[in-house]
């Protein structure tokens, strides 16, 4: 709890500015890193813009799927990996049925819905039993579900689940190959309605879909369910006392996130043009969460703006870090190493900052008490 005496604690303009910097320290740090590495990397601006726009189209939908659980107070949801798996399974089916292009993408999305709902329900039920520890629980659930995914894809596809085309099957006759080519589907969403400005290709349709999702999220916040989620996210007990069904609301938020993540994964993979069957999904959760945090989000607060800023900064670093690293040390591996290191680093920093912020809030109460006492003495 904080009091109305807030302003007295930090009132001067200077300290306000300092506060602003403190609160946005992660994005500022990344802006500085990018500003230094862009000239070092030696890439042309048009190349960079082209790359960044491609990656925005590829990643933003996935990252947006993280916003709803944060709104419901469930933190950064590694359970989105489950949605990614659902999306991949759907794409495997669709490519086996040889349905390509836009129809293939739409069909894959439809097929992924029941799978992701099922996985979302599983994840949500478990998370309702692990309140306050959602992040680590969802992280472990994603590992566990990865086992189930491998069971299905490696052993059941073929003998139990019919897979017709040998091009996607392992030579032994069952199980899916390490790579499933989506060549006939590659960037069909991005290329439809694409506009070229100079050398920069803008995937208009993909951005339209992302825009629609953004509008949906904005609209959703104004619905009764959205309002309930915000209430549950901020104080579960108060929400329960007011008659809001806390568990159900949390469950819905996870299911929505999982379904959106499966759509996001399909958009991501159509852009890449192939599925790395056993690894595409494994780090996607971590990279999405890292990008969101780089954009200035925290464990309990994230906006659409954070998503866009995060994707731009995080992926600029991704693009320029290897070359910049090579330019400085003569070894391009250093940049490669740097990006993984940074992803984990950002998540760790975000978690530490979340805890220290909570502690600071607590010690501030004491300071206010001291302040009130001193003022009282002055008055007497």
């Amino acid at each position: 709890m904080s009091f109305g005496t807030d302003e007295r604690l930090h009132k001067s303009l200077g300290s306000k500015l300092l506060n602003l910097i403190k609160e946005n320290s992660v994005p500022i740090m990344f802006i500085i890193i990018c500003a230094i590495s862009i000239p070092l990397s030696g890439f042309s601006i048009s190349y960079l813009i082209n790359e960044i726009i491609t990656r925005m189209g590829r990643n933003i939908f996935l990252i947006l799927s993280l916003l709803i659980p944060i709104m419901a107070g469930m933190g950064l949801n590694f359970g989105m990996t489950l949605g990614a798996m659902a999306g991949q399974i759907a794409l495997i089916f669709v490519s086996d049925w040889q349905i390509w292009g836009i129809p293939g993408i739409v069909l894959a999305m439809i097929v992924s819905i029941p799978i992701s709902i099922l996985l979302g329900l599983l994840c949500g039920k478990i998370l309702n039993n692990a309140k306050g520890r959602e992040m680590i629980t969802s992280y472990i659930i994603s590992f566990f579900t990865n086992g189930l995914y491998q069971l299905v894809v490696l052993y059941m596809m073929g003998p139990i689940i019919p897979i017709a085309h040998s091009s996607i099957k392992l030579p032994r006759g069952y199980g899916i190959r390490n790579t499933v080519s989506l060549l006939n589907m590659r960037q069909s969403l991005d290329n439809l309605l694409a506009v070229k400005i100079g050398t920069v290709k803008i995937p208009v349709l993909t951005f339209l879909i992302i825009g629609l999702l953004c509008l949906f999220i904005i609209w959703f916040r104004k619905t009764k369910l959205g309002q309930d989620m915000r209430a549950v996210g901020q104080d579960m007990n108060v929400a329960r006392d007011a008659g809001i069904k806390v568990e159900r609301t949390r469950l819905i938020s996870i299911v929505m996130s999982t379904v959106l993540a499966s759509f996001g994964m399909i958009i991501y993979l159509q852009n890449m043009g192939n599925i790395a069957t056993y690894s595409s999904h494994s780090q996607i959760g971590m990279f999405c969460i890292a990008a969101l945090l780089v954009g200035g989000a925290s464990v309990d607060k994230a906006t659409i703006g954070n998503v866009f800023l995060g994707v731009i900064l995080f992926h600029t670093m991704f693009i320029v870090a290897p070359s910049a690293g090579a330019a400085i040390t003569g070894d391009s591996m250093i940049g490669e190493y740097f990006r993984v290191f940074v992803s984990y680093g950002v998540i760790t920093i975000a978690l530490i900052m979340y805890e220290t912020k909570k502690r600071k809030m607590k010690s501030r109460e004491g300071k206010l008490l001291e302040l009130a006492q001193r003022e009282e003495e002055k008055a007497n």
Partner: protein, 529 residues
């Protein structure tokens, strides 16, 4: 009363016990529409339990329900959940805030009762996808705030709101419910400034004029007499008196609240220490202990005395020892025999030979899954390196099991701790015996100074007498200065030399223990916040 007249609320022969411990006995009262009833009594008098029964709180059902009848408009009702009570038109504003911190005032007033508009999506997926009607929401919030007669900024986020306004937001939430007939206010003025409290009293009068009945629970007696039609005084689970506010006064009500049937006056053993050395000097202490905030306390404890600290719950008496000992965030100055003691550092206090028996027996006081031996000698081992054997010129230290068993058996005998052996786990003991273990633990440190917090809470009469006796003996025989904090004034008066009363986080006054109960009672309610 005639048959065609029914009061809004009638409670008949209400009885309630918690596992054999009678907390309410034969409570009877009636309340009419537009009437304001003041409910007063010490902590533990049964006010909260009575209101919990009326409001259908889960805890009542879980502990075996209650006896007697609750009648609304002459019809017998039984509320299983607070939602049933709300349905019947009863609203309650609890002591703790129940607000969503990041929502605006309007959003909180209409929490989960937001006006909605259906749309295309909600036709398909159910009404939870209805969009909220923000204009309607503001209008209804405004109407509720108007009804209250105190204006608050509807668009403000709760976190940025002064505490008093949060209280008004809660009241406005109840008023926004159309079916509201009876409003229970549990210590609503506790967090308000004087001016805000006056406004609240005025708005309570407004509500009553509009036909809403109000039950007003508070420790601020002058407010009760000011605004209420009737005053219901409770003590030890009984209604002592139900009297029109006009026919009584603060002194009389105080007397009814604290006065025991037999005034077992102080033991007469209170001593005068005004010429002794200062053992501990506390200056301008503040402590941020949730629910027990201490504000600007200055206090001198004399060497060799037993100083009692009393007061109503939530007024800050527990914050004083917890703050000095460094268990909660604190500021100010503490000197121990003219040496400054740093705050927020429990080890320094222990090193200075100050011991603390916490009110949180099971959380702070005991290692529940360890033996009595460990519990009793653990601090002495950790802090003073006692009960240890040294080998290889101090490079290796070993526990001295024999002396540990000896001292434990010594205390088991001395304090009559009921246990199977000194190896028994402390979890398995009864509350009273656990308390004795806590005392033994503190005694085994051989402290110069001892804080004892709520030593008799939740233990039976026999154990109580033993604990008090042990403390008195420890003080007399070893010359240890003791500060004892307790909610029970009578027990403080039995063993203390002086008693300080804390009210509103401050020391309201320090009196010799022989002063009559009423004098202490007046101090208790003097600065209640």
């Amino acid at each position: 009363m005639t048959n065609n007249y029914n009061p809004l609320l009638e409670m008949r022969n209400i009885r309630k016990d918690f596992f054999g411990n009678q907390v309410l006995t034969d409570i009877n009262f009636t309340l009419n529409s537009g009437e304001i009833l003041g409910l007063v009594g010490e902590n533990g008098a049964g006010k909260s339990t009575l209101m919990k029964i009326l409001f259908g709180m889960d805890i009542i059902k879980e502990t075996g329900g209650y006896d007697g009848d609750v009648l609304i408009d002459g019809k017998k009702v039984e509320f299983n959940t607070p939602f049933d009570a709300l349905e019947a038109g009863i609203g309650m504003v609890h002591q703790e805030f129940s607000l969503i911190p990041g929502f605006t005032v309007s959003e909180n007033i209409l929490l989960n009762r937001e006006p909605k508009n259906p749309n295309f999506a909600s036709e398909l997926f159910g009404d939870r996808l209805d969009t909220l009607d923000y204009d309607q929401m503001e209008a209804r919030a405004e109407a509720a705030i108007d009804k209250m007669g105190f204006s608050i900024d509807r668009k403000m986020i709760i976190t940025n709101l002064p505490v008093g306004h949060r209280q008004f937001t809660e009241i406005a939430r109840e008023l926004s419910k159309e079916q509201l007939k009876l409003l229970i206010l549990d210590e609503p003025t506790a967090v308000l400034t004087e001016k805000e409290a006056e406004t609240l009293l005025q708005s309570i009068r407004n509500m009553a004029q509009n036909g809403i009945a109000v039950i007003f629970i508070t420790h601020r007696l002058h407010e009760v007499l000011d605004v209420c039609d009737n005053v219901l005084v409770m003590r030890d689970g009984y209604v002592v008196k139900n009297v029109p506010a006009k026919e009584t006064n603060v002194a009389e009500v105080t007397k009814m609240m604290v006065g025991r049937q037999v005034d077992t006056a102080a033991s007469g053993s209170a001593r005068d220490f005004s010429n002794s050395r200062n053992a501990m000097t506390i200056k301008k202490l503040w402590v941020d202990m949730p629910g027990e905030t201490v504000r600007n306390v200055s206090l001198v404890v004399k060497e060799g005395e037993i100083l009692g600290i009393g007061g109503l719950a939530g007024q800050g008496k527990l914050g004083i020892p917890n703050g000095v000992m460094g268990l909660y965030d604190a500021g100010g100055e503490v000197e121990f025999y003219d040496e400054p003691i740093p705050l927020n550092n429990p080890r320094k206090c222990l090193d200075a030979s100050i011991a603390f028996v916490s009110e949180d027996r099971r959380g702070v006081g005991l290692l529940l899954d360890e033996s009595l031996e460990w519990n009793i000698v653990f601090p002495a081992m950790q802090v003073q390196n006692r009960f240890l054997k040294k080998y290889l010129s101090g490079w290796i230290t070993w526990r001295d099991e024999k002396s540990i068993t000896n001292i434990t058996n010594h205390y088991i005998e001395k304090l009559a701790i009921k246990c199977t052996s000194s190896k028994q786990k402390s979890r398995e003991l009864s509350g009273g015996n656990q308390q004795k273990v806590c005392l033994a633990k503190a005694f085994s440190l051989n402290p110069k100074f001892l804080f004892v917090s709520e030593p008799t809470r939740g233990i039976d009469v026999g154990a109580k007498a033993l604990v008090l006796d042990a403390l008195k003996k420890f003080n007399r025989e070893n010359g240890v200065t003791i500060v004892m904090i307790s909610s029970e004034l009578e027990e403080l008066r039995q063993i203390c030399d002086r008693i300080a009363i804390v009210s509103g986080g401050k020391i309201a006054g320090i009196l010799p223990a022989e002063e009559p109960s009423e004098a202490f009672g007046m101090l208790m309610v003097s600065q209640v916040k």
